[in-house]
């Protein structure tokens, strides 16, 4: 990658009580890259994203994004920098419709305040319509027109995952953090989701940081892979390098399987 470093994670340490969730983790993400973080359950992947989101505050280390130290920002100041996020256990606004969920993510792109909104006149109304157009484009892109006005809580799992991706896109992110976007999906849904992620990456050039369990998929779509195990970064490299890295294979399969290829691992 020749591109400049976009996000740099430097020596991040995070502990909950006595357990070390992250130990001295460092890595860089370049602009326009699709980077995957993999690792067994409890390896600290989601904690890593939470640190980037400034939802957890690392005990040590810095996370720099476009010159801002994210560890010093309050959580709600991270999104306006252009960092959007989906969650492992879908965290949609269940009482709103799909449309409203996406519009809610436009929050940081809208300016009208309390009084303008209450009067709903002039700028507020204009802004609502402008942002609605952006949101409709995303709805179009994700092929969810038919459920536009459905209440999110009532949608099936696969669609909710897709709506959540839509909500993250509505933020027009520069860096997209995806926490297991394909977990619990069937093959068809997974392929759809992979297609959307690749489209976002290739058509819009969005930098993507992806956490995923499905090794086959990760190896197919990621440009670079980082492996975490018990809070430690144990490997970093292209999918091919990771596939043949003995430490990774050991972490995933244990001592005795040290020689078998990791492709057999799913979930």
């Amino acid at each position: 990658m020749d591109n400049a470093v976009y996000l740099s994670v430097e020596n991040v340490n995070l502990a909950f009580g006595g357990t070390q969730a992250l130990i001295d983790v460092s890595f860089n993400v370049s602009e326009g890259e699709l980077l995957a973080i993999i690792g067994p359950n409890g390896a600290g992947k989601t904690s890593m994203l939470n640190c980037i989101n400034s939802f957890y505050r690392p005990d040590k280390g810095r996370i720099i994004f476009k010159g801002h130290d994210l560890t010093r920002l309050s959580s709600h100041r991270v999104a306006p920098l252009g960092i959007a996020r989906t969650f492992q256990n879908i965290a949609l606004y269940t009482g709103m419709s799909v449309l409203e969920n996406l519009m809610a993510a436009r929050h940081v792109h809208m300016n009208h305040g309390m009084i303008a909104g209450a009067l709903y006149f002039g700028r507020a109304q204009k802004e609502e319509v402008e942002n609605r157009i952006v949101v409709e484009e995303i709805i179009d892109f994700l092929e969810i027109e038919h459920i536009r006005k459905a209440i999110v809580g009532a949608l099936p799992y696969g669609l909710r995952k897709r709506v959540e991706l839509g909500r993250a896109l509505a933020l027009e992110p520069k860096l997209l953090l995806l926490d297991e976007p394909m977990a619990g999906m069937n093959l068809e849904e997974k392929e759809d989701m992979a297609r959307f992620i690749l489209d976002i990456h290739e058509l819009q050039g969005t930098t993507i940081l992806l956490i995923e369990h499905d090794m086959g998929l990760v190896m197919d779509i990621a440009e670079r892979v980082i492996v975490l195990d018990f809070g430690l970064k144990i490997a970093e490299g292209t999918p091919d390098e990771i596939k043949n890295n003995p430490t990774v294979i050991q972490a995933y399969l244990g001592e005795e399987f040290g020689a078998s290829p990791p492709d057999v691992v799913s979930q």
């Binding site: 909950f16 989601t46 939470n50 939802f55 969650f87 492992q88 965290a91």
Partner: protein
């Protein structure tokens, strides 16, 4: 601050706080097992008081039916209070399983309203000052103490007796939770409903039981309170001071509830010793001011545990 009044205020405050703590305990018990905060506890308590008053021979009105000695009247009231607690859980709260916090809070508030109406209807609205007490209200122990007003601290015998009974009741409850099979089942349920179910504990039965016990605890606290200030429908509002006590203790800790209760009693006693009229008048809100202060310093309460938020 009127310093000569302080020793008396501290002692009375602590003694009062014991009863507040016992009342708080009833709420904590339900919360621990089912995560329901029972706003109708004050009305359960009032109901227990009037039942006792009624069984003991409601002398004033002449419509007594039983004229039982106090101990038996209290026991009879306990049985009915437990039954009412059990029925409330079965009829009103069980259908609310899985509903949002607001619905559950409103359910207990609606229940409080219903109970208030029922109490007004059956027992009337006027206060009854002739609630049976073990000692006449004027009898007190006099303890010489050089720093106190007139160099004596007065301990009303009724107050001391109620404090001792409240503490005994608390000890009994804690022993019950620690050592009996049912108590252990209830603690297991409080930790994790699914897990409790998987080892053969009947979770609905535990919920019903905790409400029944809470009914008894409420009635007991009410009787102790009524021995000091008489039976009245406004008792339900008097016990609103128990709510800050619960949060001070951290909502899930039984000893915390007692200590919260004592803190509240102490706060109320100490504002009474102030030399400023405004502060002397603030006994009813002092617990809430204390609560707001604690919320800013330690939001999880004195004995509560901080939770790590996950997403």
């Amino acid at each position: 601050m009127n310093w000569v009044l302080v020793p008396q205020a501290v002692v009375t405050g602590i003694l009062n706080g014991g009863v507040i703590g016992l009342i708080a305990l009833g709420v904590v018990m339900i919360y621990k097992s089912s995560e329901i905060f029972n706003f109708s506890q004050g009305h359960l308590l009032t109901l227990g008081v009037f039942l006792t008053w009624w069984f003991a021979g409601a002398k004033e009105t002449g419509d007594e039916l039983f004229n039982l000695p106090l101990v038996f009247a209290v026991l009879a009231a306990f049985i009915i209070a437990a039954l009412i607690g059990f029925i409330i859980e079965r009829v009103a709260l069980r259908p609310m399983a899985g509903q949002p916090l607001l619905s559950i809070i409103l359910m207990t508030l609606g229940l409080a309203q219903l109970l208030e109406g029922v109490i007004n209807l059956t027992f009337g609205v006027q206060p009854r000052s002739n609630f049976p007490a073990p000692f006449p209200a004027t009898e007190s122990f006099k303890i010489p103490f050089s720093l106190a007003f007139n160099e004596t601290i007065f301990l009303r015998k009724t107050l001391v007796a109620t404090f001792i009974v409240a503490m005994l009741g608390t000890a009994l409850l804690i022993l019950f939770f620690r050592f009996t099979r049912t108590g252990l089942a209830m603690r297991a349920t409080a930790e994790d409903h699914e897990l409790a179910r998987s080892i053969g504990i009947s979770v609905p039965r535990v919920f019903g039981l905790s409400w029944a016990i809470a009914g008894i605890v409420a009635a007991a606290g009410g009787v102790l309170l009524a021995m000091q200030i008489g039976a009245s429908p406004t008792l339900s509002t008097v016990v609103l001071v128990a709510f800050p006590a619960i949060l001070l203790g951290g909502l899930e800790s039984l000893p915390g509830a007692i200590i919260g209760g004592i803190a509240v009693g102490l706060a109320q006693g100490l504002v009474g010793a102030s030399s400023l009229v405004v502060i002397r008048n603030s006994a009813a809100i002092a617990p809430y001011v204390l609560l707001l202060i604690i919320m800013f310093i330690r939001p999880e309460g004195l004995f509560g545990q901080k939770r790590i938020e996950r997403i």
